[in-house]
């Protein structure tokens, strides 16, 4: 029993480390690439780490009107996101906590974090917080069905909603994403990724302009270590969603298990695919302008329609 347990523990620790260490890097790479594309120098890809270190050393200001929800939210968001991250296949198809729940658990763990963020936005009593919460919930209510439909399309192919099974079924089918159903599902999930991570056509992660901000408005009252926890969780969430997209649709280089040399190869492929997806996101952010809030439902309606087409076309053909 012990050897198996040890391997499990090592897997868990490795993926935990990868999530914590890689997430700020992905954010940094996206920021730097975007700056370069706009012919700015940019802060360098290590800036998110420096930001986190700086924030963890600072003191905190907590609003007088805030209740325990304000203090609990950063922890809930951070750990629910981390738990969701341990349930998805990153380097190998076998997810460390895959036995605890499938893709539905991942989606609703992320949903739990979002719920608490929205509550804390209301809790602080500032008008911006409430505004951000209502916007965030509007968008997520529209994005979630599209995400579900896309994920179910992939799950039907694997015959299970367990992510280990889904990723395992994808291994060896490197060209599967060219099938129409997979392509519709990929497009739907990519649109949802943009909406969920607050990228440009939907939300601008770099601005604090009151007319446009969604995510930033909710966390406006946070400072110091709490803000650091939330920022870290947000970048982990982005990494989790990107990895989910990558490993469901581009299984090239995904290993069946974590053993030995294969794990290194898996990490290499993961990094390469993440870089590719980051470049795509950067390109999309640079050529698009931010949408008006009332236009966002149109984008998500397209995602929803693509998702339902994906699901239906797997049944019909």
């Amino acid at each position: 029993m012990t050897e198996r347990m040890m391997i499990r523990l090592i897997e868990n620790a490795a993926q935990l480390f990868l999530l914590l260490a890689l997430a700020p890097l992905v954010t940094g790479v996206i920021r730097t690439l975007k700056a370069r594309l706009q012919t700015r120098r940019g802060p360098g890809i290590l800036q998110p780490y420096r930001d986190l270190r700086k924030l963890f050393r600072k003191g905190m200001v907590i609003p007088e009107t805030a209740s325990w929800i304000f203090a609990a939210t950063p922890w809930v968001v951070f750990f629910s996101t981390l738990l969701a991250g341990l349930m998805i296949p990153m380097v190998a198809a076998e997810a460390p906590l895959g036995l605890f729940g499938g893709v539905l658990a991942v989606i609703y763990l992320l949903g739990l974090g979002r719920f608490f963020l929205a509550l804390s936005g209301l809790d602080s009593g500032s008008s911006f917080g409430g505004l951000g919460s209502s916007r965030e919930m509007t968008i997520s209510a529209l994005a979630e069905p599209a995400m579900m439909l896309a994920i179910f399309t992939v799950a039907i192919g694997a015959g299970s909603t367990g992510l280990t099974e889904i990723a395992g079924a994808a291994i060896g089918q490197n060209w599967r994403f060219l099938a129409p159903a997979q392509m519709f599902a990929f497009a739907a999930l990519a649109l949802v990724l943009i909406a969920e991570t607050g990228r440009i056509p939907v939300d601008n992660p770099d601005t604090h302009l009151e007319l446009t901000m969604i995510h930033e408005a909710m966390i406006l009252e946070y400072s110091g270590p709490y803000l650091a926890l939330i920022e870290w969780a947000v970048s982990i969430k982005q990494l989790v969603l990107m990895t989910l997209l990558i490993n469901c649709f581009w299984p090239i280089g995904l290993q069946p298990t974590w053993f030995g040399f294969g794990a290194l190869q898996g990490i290499g492929w993961l990094l390469a695919k993440l870089l590719f997806l980051s470049c795509a996101i950067v390109l999309l952010e640079t050529v698009n302008a931010k949408m008006r809030l009332f236009r966002v439902p149109e984008l998500l309606a397209v995602a929803f329609t693509l998702g339902s087409l994906a699901l239906v076309s797997t049944f019909l053909f």
């Binding site: 129409p180 392509m183 329609t305 019909l316 053909f317």
Partner: protein
């Protein structure tokens, strides 16, 4: 193992299915688009994929006269008609957005529903024993047809209605090449000439409507005016 060993026909079927899916995505993008110039460009892209489908079928089914159809699609629908329309847009100085009768999110969902209808109808034509390419393509063709009709009903401005009509015609073309692997060349030549003439006549008509009514909004065409 990057490329699986496939029969030629299966590979052709896959390529056609993939491109048909892209054509369908572009059709739905057209429903959701508000800017007329981008709408015209999406139509050009859709026609480009259609030309590629025709070329693929010509290659895998050894039907050389389909190359002519592909080339004609390329010249007429990808180059000539979009240039004609963009010039028209520039000359009429259309700056405002397209305002559909049904709002955009609902339109997109309706377009999705119409696609389902297309798939269901095409499924009744499906024969597992029939050899050949592109059963999916027929479903996409019927969907293009239905969505094109819906877009025509849904739009106020004459120019966008013409664009919808042309995308509907794309659906007809796709159905024709995926079912018959190419009609006789003379029929296709006739159709392309038709499309070009129709686009020009409609372009002039749109311009006239605007001259007379100071708008291309067809919902204003109720009053008679001497």
């Amino acid at each position: 193992m990057l490329m699986m060993p496939l029969l030629n026909l299966q590979l052709g079927d896959r390529i056609v299915t993939l491109m048909a899916a892209l054509v369908l995505v572009l059709q739905i993008a057209m429903v959701s688009q508000r800017w007329i110039v981008i709408h015209i460009r999406i139509f050009a892209a859709q026609s480009l994929f259609l030309a590629m489908i025709a070329a693929t079928i010509a290659w895998f089914n050894h039907a050389p006269h389909l190359y002519v159809a592909a080339a004609l699609t390329l010249v007429v629908k990808v180059i000539l008609v979009p240039i004609l329309f963009e010039r028209l847009v520039k000359r009429m100085e259309i700056h405002e957005e397209i305002e559909p009768f049904v709002n955009v999110p609902l339109s997109v969902v309706i377009a999705g529903g119409l696609t389902l209808v297309g798939y269901v109808v095409a499924a009744s034509f499906y024969r597992p024993d029939a050899p050949g390419l592109g059963h999916n393509a027929l479903a996409v063709a019927i969907s293009l047809f239905l969505i094109g009709f819906f877009t025509m009903i849904n739009r106020r401005k004459a120019l966008t209605q013409v664009l919808a009509l042309l995308s509907l015609e794309n659906g007809l073309f796709l159905a024709a090449i995926s079912l018959t692997y190419g009609m006789p060349l003379i029929v296709e030549l006739g159709i392309f000439f038709d499309v070009l003439v129709a686009a020009m006549v409609l372009g002039i008509l749109v311009y006239r409507i605007r001259e007379t009514f100071e708008s291309v909004d067809v919902s204003r065409l109720r009053r008679l005016r001497g």
